[in-house]
């Protein structure tokens, strides 16, 4: 019991004193997952909105595919990206394996379906509400999309945040494609796995604190967003 308390105290000290390794790892984590969230949003938000307002034959299939992709285990995504970018793989010449870029790519694949799906849901609801008005006012296609994106902006931010939250806590894929290389591809989750394995609980706990802090921050932001959203609706 005392050991645990001491470990917690030492971990807290690492956080408070801004331990250099800890900061480096945190920054890389943020860089990778924010990058993935930005790229995932750039693809997922328009895709979700597009699916919500357009009727085309393959629409149902695309939505089913999106939902299936959402359930894809990160380890499998990691494996696929690994095979693609490995030296003998089709994209091996790019030499991206074990770089932060490969980690971003893997996370984009994991979170884009989530972002697109949340955006799709939100925009579909809004479109159902606005449909008659926009048709009656003869809003052009781009005007409709602009209106829906703008009025649905809170829900869309929620989608992006949800994607980021999924990315920052993800370990399976980035472990495989990043390799958890010190000072190169080590991020919060992979470092925790490593330090725990080594029995270095101080560092593992310190990293855990940061990760929990980030998770709480994301959830708080989600909560505030959904509350303002609801507050404005009822």
């Amino acid at each position: 019991m005392n050991d645990i308390l001491q470990g917690l105290a030492r971990a807290a000290k690492l956080v408070v004193t801004l331990n250099a390794d800890l900061v480096e790892i945190t920054l890389l984590s943020l860089q990778v997952s924010l990058g993935a969230a930005v790229i995932g949003s750039a693809i997922g938000l328009p895709l979700g909105a597009w699916l919500a307002i357009n009727r085309f034959p393959a629409r149902r299939t695309v939505i089913a595919l999106l939902n299936a992709l959402m359930g894809l285990p990160p380890v499998v995504v990691g494996l696929i990206v690994y095979v693609l970018f490995s030296r003998s793989g089709p994209l091996g010449v790019l030499g991206l394996l074990f770089t932060p870029t490969a980690m971003v790519i893997a996370q984009v694949i994991i979170i884009t379906p989530i972002i697109a799906s949340v955006a799709h849901q939100a925009i579909r609801e809004l479109w159902a509400d606005y449909h008659d008005l926009l048709i009656s006012l003869e809003a052009r296609r781009h005007q409709r999309i602009a209106t829906l994106l703008w009025d649905g902006r809170r829900a869309l931010m929620t989608a992006s945040l949800a994607g980021f939250g999924r990315g920052i806590g993800e370990v399976g894929a980035i472990m495989i494609v990043g390799g958890n290389i010190d000072h190169a591809t080590r991020v919060l989750t992979t470092a925790i796995a490593l330090e725990t394995g080594k029995g270095e609980f101080d560092m593992a706990l310190a990293l855990g604190f940061v990760l929990i802090g980030l998770a709480i921050a994301v959830n708080l932001a989600l909560h505030i967003l959904s509350r303002t959203e609801r507050g404005s609706r009822w």
Partner: protein
């Protein structure tokens, strides 16, 4: 002056394998206020929406008169249930102008005037979802009037309004009619229909039962159904 505006030729709307309106044949002239009346579910909303082009007609045809092109091109529709945008009252009313490329400042100025005109006396900065039922209807009316429509559809525009607001709205509609706006509306308020209508389209079970000038309709309705409806009896 437009004598004929639109003619419906055996228009029928089917939904889910069931005929919900029609077959209806009727003509509407190019002036005044036409009042669609009839019990709940008679097909008033469906008829108005079909005329506005919001509902797909299953069979039959809607012929718009050549001279009525101006009317047809400048339509507005006030829905039975106001459609609320997730915006402030001011920006909701300004929205149609924004779609037509009017700058934000100018559009908001016009929106404030329109709110004033329909008697919407609330803080225009607040979200439309916080308006009362009647205030929402006034917002929707202001949003329609800001386009200065030549042809205005109103689906029970004063269903949630108090007596004074109803009269204010009626004055506004009278004013627009006097300026040449063609109005097609529905109401369950028989007093309002008497005060406003130039002619009445009485519907029941999706059929057109009677179409007559207002005076004739209210003094001597021809059909049993209209007689019963006007007396407040059950319409069979």
């Amino acid at each position: 002056m437009v004598n004929a505006m639109v003619a419906l030729d055996r228009v029928e709307l089917r939904r889910g394998g069931r005929v919900i309106v029609g077959p209806i044949s009727l003509r509407l002239g190019g002036e005044g206020i036409t009042m669609a009346m009839g019990p709940n579910g008679a097909g008033k909303t469906t008829l108005l929406r079909a005329l506005h082009g919001l509902e797909r007609v299953s069979s039959g045809q809607i012929h718009w008169d050549e001279d009525a092109r101006a009317l047809r091109e400048r339509q507005a529709f006030v829905f039975q249930t106001p459609i609320l945008m997730r915006r402030s009252v001011l920006d909701s009313i300004a929205y149609p102008l924004r779609l037509r490329g009017v700058r934000r400042g100018a559009a908001r100025e016009r929106a404030a005037e329109c709110a004033e005109n329909v008697g919407l006396r609330v803080s225009l900065r607040k979200d439309v979802s916080t308006l009362s039922g009647g205030e929402k209807q006034k917002m929707a009316l202001a949003r329609a009037l800001i386009m200065d429509p030549a042809l205005l559809f109103l689906d029970e525009p004063s269903a949630n309004l108090d007596g004074r607001s109803t009269r204010e709205i009626e004055e506004i509609l009278d004013h627009f009619r006097a300026r040449g706006t063609r109005i097609v509306m529905s109401t369950h308020d028989i007093g309002q229909a008497r005060r406003l209508a130039d002619d009445v389209v009485f519907m029941h079970h999706g059929h057109l039962v009677e179409q007559a000038p207002s005076a004739a309709f209210f003094d001597a309705p021809q059909s049993q159904q209209a007689k019963a409806y006007l007396q407040g009896d059950i319409v069979i």
